[in-house]
Symmetry: C2
Subunit: 393 residues, 2 copies
């Protein structure tokens, strides 16, 4: 079994949306394909993945550092003992050769896109959905009950935009979503609280169906102001309150805010998560960890994060990865995590699920398509074709 080609395409995110800190108008994602000489149904088996959503494509780092290492490795060294599957741990060691410790930023996303493509590839070689491959590898037995899901959105739209926050959430509701997440911190407190009330209206006044996300914007006084205003609403959670590395602030908030706190989407290594566990004041049984394999060296490093959480007394159901796309749906399903988000309306072509994914009573199920099933998502058809054939038609 040999790799015949590895390709990367930088795909711009569609839409013109902003969170409290960042406009996504210029954001891009690396779509990666690992092509092999293996055939299934007469066609070469190709692993596909991408580096989640929300940071940037990593074509430069892939071409400068990571692909040359992979191409230089003896082909057999990338395979498991039987020679019929790729050894994702061995591949990560090859990719990380001569990388220094610390500095877990862009390279973590570059490596993740590649590593995840090998998980897709292994699942396709086995002719099964990726959640089955993942569950077997990590010794987990999924119950087939689907996973809890909420629709993430509630962004700030540019002035003059036709829709409103409530319209947006109602559109998700029409698609079958029963819980939502919205951005806060991009407007003054009073204006944000009016937005929250409007969103709560769509959620039937049930705070457990609405999370708010400050995208790491608040300093401590602002965070405390928001916490006081939000606490009576008993929301699903209060997400990324301060800078993602400000563990002390997180601990101060956990000491005073009675509801759940969510954070972790901007921690890209197990070492960083260790620090959140040690210094962040996160509460077993309550708070939510949102690390994202696609931004964090892939599934191997993500599994190390989960082990660290469990060793520190947290349940894996407290893990709900950032991302809102098919790859994380398979990971959440395969590992029995607490749930996942969905981006049904934004971050196309990567956000949200395939039409065949069942959405029912606040839960979502992957399809039986091999791998992550990215080929089943209509919005991805053109980028995948362009990646594999070069055609922009």
């Amino acid at each position: 079994m040999r790799i015949t080609d590895i390709r990367e395409l930088s795909v711009p995110l569609q839409g013109n949306i902003a969170n409290a800190l960042v406009s996504f108008a210029e954001h891009t994602v690396s779509l990666v394909a690992v092509c092999t000489d293996q055939l299934r149904d007469g066609r070469p088996v190709t692993g596909l993945a991408f580096n989640s959503i929300g940071r940037f494509a990593q074509g430069g780092l892939l071409r400068e550092r990571f692909l040359p290492r992979l191409h230089a490795a003896p082909p057999d060294s990338l395979l498991d003992a039987g020679g019929t599957r790729f050894d994702t741990a061995a591949i990560t060691r090859v990719l990380m050769r001569n990388e220094k410790p610390g500095g877990h930023g862009d390279r973590a996303a570059a490596v993740a896109a590649l590593e995840l493509a090998f998980w897709d590839l292994n699942a396709k070689l086995a002719g099964e959905p990726a959640w089955q491959t993942i569950a077997r590898h990590f010794g987990h037995t999924p119950q087939g009950q689907g996973v809890p899901v909420y629709a993430a959105g509630g962004y700030y739209y540019p002035p003059g935009h036709a829709g409103s926050l409530a319209d947006e959430l109602r559109a998700y509701q029409d698609q079958g979503y029963t819980a939502f997440k919205m951005k806060i911190g991009g407007a003054p407190l009073a204006q944000d609280m009016a937005r929250v009330e409007s969103a709560l209206g769509v959620a039937g006044g049930d705070g457990s169906r609405l999370a708010v996300d400050a995208n790491g914007r608040f300093d401590l006084p602002t965070a405390l102001d928001y916490a006081r205003a939000l606490a009576p609403l008993r929301l699903r959670w209060f997400e990324e309150i301060g800078d993602p590395l400000d563990y002390a602030l997180n601990a101060q908030m956990a000491a005073v805010y009675p509801g759940a706190i969510a954070t972790g989407e901007n921690l890209f290594s197990a070492r960083d998560v260790d620090n959140l566990l040690r210094h962040g004041g996160m509460r077993p049984g309550r708070d939510v960890f949102q690390m994202d394999p696609g931004l964090s060296y892939g599934l191997g490093e993500y599994a190390r994060m989960l082990s660290a959480m469990e060793a520190a007394g947290f349940a894996r159901q407290q893990a709900q990865p950032h991302g809102g796309h098919l790859i994380n749906l398979h990971i959440v399903t395969g590992l029995g995590l607490g749930g996942c988000e969905a981006y049904p309306g934004v971050f196309q072509p990567f956000g949200g699920y395939a039409p065949g994914c069942r959405l029912q009573a606040g839960r979502v199920w992957p399809t039986d398509a091999p791998g992550f099933g990215l080929e089943e998502k209509p919005e991805l058809a053109q980028p995948i074709r362009q990646l594999l054939t070069g055609s922009t038609a």
Copy 2:
């Protein structure tokens, strides 16, 4: 005043050396030039810098994200109020537009190379060495006494290599260096201790003239073993004992190791340094902070790190940046820091100083060349020519 061109060249490091964790045989550095329409002595003023030493070149990130933002900015928005100097803080804001918090890795080095080139440029526009520009900007008055310097090296050479560790340190001694740093952790403890004794021999048996660097390799039991063996030698310092993000391990070591501990070269943001200050157990008046502006978004972010250190009760003399090159010599001189390393024998063409830099009694002085004076370093002549003209001759 206008930028006419910005160029980047990925320059391979020469030599085949390894520290405890990483071979530098495939490492590269981004050499950056910012060309302007200003003339001095009839020639266009060009700012030059590089992203320090020891991680990797960042041509991909620069071309994908950072240069397009700079080119898209209104030219006047990059200048100070008088319009005669570049506003490095404004430039950093332009570069970091739409970058999310957290993930301070490769991008920190990409931004640093650019930001530092503008410091070189501003100094050349003023016709003065960069340390003067830096001192004036940050309100510091250097005493002109030179800065303490030590020769860093003591790497593990491949088997069969002609020289020895002692030979290497004696060569630095012949150049005028009186203090040294060597790598440990790449061999078993007994073998490393023999290397340390050999190096101490060159240093006249004076532990204060020899530092050891584990490059973040040790777990706690190994760290404790080394600490017990090293403590009686009263070394200059014990550097990067564990993973750079393992603040708890650092604090445990600070509680038991009586000598100085040094760390920080793999922390690339003020947010990360905040965590070292809060959770790392560093001791005012004793331990050493080695954050490196060239890997950390440049001088603006580095100044924020120093402010955080001072606010936490540490002296700026406890800062000794990683790097060992001309850029950091000017920064240490201009800001009155505790000293700097030099790589007189390795990491060419970037390591070490220019021949005109006076080295005397364990101190080093920059020359009066405008900017960082990179043009005075013979090893850099060819890469600079290639960067500016494309000629590889």
